[in-house]
């Protein structure tokens, strides 16, 4: 079982100092928020990059230290937080193989994207604010991955959600962008409710939220009922954060944010938090819950891949692709292979960040054009961007020997080794073909063929992006190409490294030989590439093709009408309820209050008439009163 031996970090050692990893970017974010407006841009960027860079160096050191300790988990209680009766919640850091490998991904990819943003956001009036949010995001994500318990993880979970909201709505002057930010925030709340209820259930039954106490016992210690409830509730939480059906609707809209944000938050790191959560909790996840997770992942992977084939917006294609690839990772954690999930999480982090940065570079060159049908032939104007895009395309499409090929194979092999996952395996293969198709379409429409933008008025003049943008592209391209090395089929370094952290995968008799499976997957991917090349490299009447496909084209183009469904099923009743409440408030509550006030005023205006201001009428009243008294006295005497 995972996390069995745990030691405390000794005073003054490197791991004792690991608390600085999230604190450095957080401090930088605070400084930039307070003083950023007065700073020179170079100073603001230097502070942001420096803090993340230092975090990256510290993370690497922590990784090395954990490796030197033979992968044994180390905890470090940084601060007392909430002593509530028997429950003592601290900010405790957990450094083990799983969290340190995530630390490396978050800090180094984060650093590259910071560098890229220096070029991308150079002309933005809120330059320092952007870096403040980006730093805050990195800090939050680090809190999330270093958390030793669900509650600390939840703090990071909410903070990354906040940063996501702030950065999607960074250009809040555009109402659609602001509402995209709100949509992401609200949809994530649904998942968060699941997370919180899962924590309540755990507190009520196990009495602890600490990983080092929950994980070693596994599902047996919790009992079947609790483990099932917790697993399904965490699935709700993970579906919200990682954009799985039915809570996936926010991610495509989240592309409203600046492109570096899409790369960092909505591709490489934050959206993988759900996968990380399941990998972390893997010993607690029952096989039945795993089946549900795998099916959610499979359906999401298929639906999102279909949608990605029909979109026109170059970032939306990538966003749907991210949803689809996250579905892949859910399949992996669902069938029990956390190693395959984390492997794909890492390689996807490289190549999807790369593809998003390529998209940003293209938008930069094309005056923020996002419609792939208005591009084409950009390979000449942007050779570096094109070359790195080809690497990213090859990696995600599953071209052999690149990172995506190995991680995808690992997931498909895990599905093949799981009894009863035959249908999921078939879906996985179909999605592999669709992925190759839509990514080829993306690449061809943007970089190859005729420069369709030349007909536009005013025609953009595409140009290669500046060095701060190109350099991260090259580094990420290298990582995308070579990322597979960390878990080559022969060496299985990552599997060995993660062994102390996650539940082991127990393969059953494979449904299909792994070599054969590889051949089939590559063949399907090749078919996808060929189909896309045939459709988009040659002159094809796409209008007619769309008409002939009919519903098969319309459903994916409209994202299977999920948004319309939620509009009718959730938003419309919500509006009706709100209007009803408003009417109730206006008529009943306000009516009662105003009615009381009006009644009082009416009575008062009656009583007011007594005050005539005439001296003699007062005298008359006094005389009449005196007379009345006399009459009463006489009447009583007589």
């Amino acid at each position: 079982m995972a996390l069995e031996s745990v030691t405390q970090a000794a005073d003054g050692t490197l791991l004792w100092w690991s608390w600085a990893i999230p604190v450095l970017p957080a401090v930088s974010a605070a400084v930039l928020l307070l003083l950023g407006a007065r700073m020179r841009r170079a100073v603001a960027a230097g502070l942001a990059l420096g803090s993340v860079g230092l975090s990256a160096v510290l993370s690497t050191a922590a990784f090395v230290a954990v490796q030197a300790g033979g992968g044994e988990a180390v905890v470090r209680t940084v601060a007392r937080w909430m002593p509530v009766g028997d429950l003592q919640v601290d900010w405790t850091i957990l450094l083990d193989p799983l969290s340190t490998v995530m630390l490396l991904l978050v800090t180094w990819v984060g650093l590259l994207i910071h560098v890229y943003s220096v070029g991308y956001m150079a002309d933005d009036p809120r330059f320092s604010r952007f870096f403040a949010y980006l730093n805050l995001f990195v800090a939050s994500m680090l809190v999330l991955v270093m958390a030793e318990g669900l509650l600390t993880l939840f703090v990071g979970w909410e903070l990354v959600g906040l940063c996501s909201y702030l950065l999607i709505g960074f250009w809040y002057e555009r109402p659609t962008f602001a509402s995209a930010a709100k949509k992401a925030f609200v949809v994530n709340r649904v998942g968060d409710a699941g997370f919180m209820i899962a924590m309540f259930v755990l507190l009520a039954t196990a009495g602890t939220l600490s990983f080092t106490e929950l994980v070693p016992g596994g599902a047996d210690a919790l009992g079947t009922g609790t483990a099932t409830a917790v697993g399904l509730l965490l699935l709700v939480a993970a579906a919200g954060k990682s954009a799985q059906i039915p809570l996936h609707v926010w991610l495509p809209d989240a592309m409203a944010g600046p492109t570096p944000v899409s790369a960092l938050i909505h591709a490489a790191t934050m959206v993988t938090a759900g996968v990380y959560l399941f990998a972390r909790m893997s010993p607690v996840v029952l096989p039945e819950v795993g089946t549900a997770v795998a099916w959610v992942g499979a359906i999401t992977a298929l639906v999102a891949a279909l949608v990605a084939c029909t979109q026109r917006d170059l970032k939306k294609i990538l966003a749907w692709s991210t949803v689809s690839q996250l579905g892949y990772m859910f399949i992996a954690v669902g069938v029990g292979s956390s190693v395959a999930a984390v492997f794909h999480l890492l390689t996807h982090g490289f190549f999807k960040a790369l593809l998003f940065l390529v998209a940003g570079s293209v938008m930069h060159a094309m005056d923020d054009e996002t419609d792939v049908w208005r591009m084409g032939g950009l390979r000449r104007a942007m050779p570096w961007t094109f070359a790195t895009a080809v690497v990213g395309w090859a990696a995600i499409s599953g071209v052999p020997l690149l990172s995506g090929f190995f991680s995808k194979e690992e997931i498909l092999a895990a599905a093949a080794d799981t009894p009863g996952a035959g249908a999921i395996l078939v879906i996985g293969l179909v999605v592999a073909g669709l992925t190759a198709f839509y990514m080829t379409r993306w690449l061809v429409l943007i970089f190859l063929g005729r420069p369709r933008h030349a007909d536009l008025a005013p025609a953009p003049h595409p140009h290669e992006s500046p060095a701060p943008m190109v350099a991260p592209l090259v580094v990420l391209a290298a990582a995308s190409a070579l990322g597979g090395l960390i878990n080559l089929p022969g060496s299985q370094w990552l599997a060995g490294w993660l062994e102390p952290s996650v539940a082991p995968f127990e393969p059953a008799e494979p449904m299909i030989g792994h070599t054969l499976l590889e051949v089939v997957a590559v063949a399907i991917a090749a078919a996808g590439v060929a189909a896309a090349a045939a459709l988009y490299l040659r002159r094809v009447d796409h209008e007619r093709l769309r008409e002939r496909l009919g519903l098969l084209h319309e459903l994916p183009r409209e994202s299977f009408y999920f948004d319309a469904l939620y509009e009718r099923a959730v938003a419309a009743p919500g509006h009706a309820l709100a209007r009803g409440s408003a009417t109730f408030d206006r008529v009943v509550i306000d009516g009662a209050v105003l009615g009381l006030a009006r009644g009082t005023a009416g009575l008062a205006s009656l009583g007011r008439r007594l005050q005539t201001g005439w001296l003699r009428s007062y005298a008359l009243a006094i005389a009449a009163g005196a007379l009345l008294l006399v009459v009463v006295v006489i009447a009583r005497v007589v």
Partner: protein, 100 residues
């Protein structure tokens, strides 16, 4: 000796004249004089009953009333003088600032 009833009847008549005067006249000076009439009718009653019962209490009280009435007249006249300065009139009906 004149019976006490006559004195009481005189007092009642004076009181009635005074009360009606206060109610129907509009000049504040006349109203003040009518108030004096009412006060003095009460004095007559007090003295009458004091004689009837052979006690001095009522007569002492009458002196108090006379003193208070003197004070009241000074205050009242001061008010009337100021009212006249303000309104150039002694008509009570023209003073209706407190009308609601």
């Amino acid at each position: 000796m004149v019976p006490a009833g006559w004195y009481l009847a005189l007092a009642a008549a004076l009181f009635g004249v005074g009360a009606i005067g206060v109610l129907v006249r509009r000049s504040v000076i006349v109203m003040l004089m009518c108030v004096e009439l009412m006060l003095n009718s009460v004095n007559i009653t007090l003295v009458t009953f004091a004689r009837m019962h052979g006690s001095l209490d009522g007569q002492v009280l009458a002196f108090f009333v006379i003193v208070v009435a003197a004070a009241e007249v000074t205050v009242g006249l001061a008010l009337i003088v100021n009212l006249f300065r303000l309104k150039a009139s002694t008509d009570a009906d023209r003073v209706d600032e407190l009308r609601a």
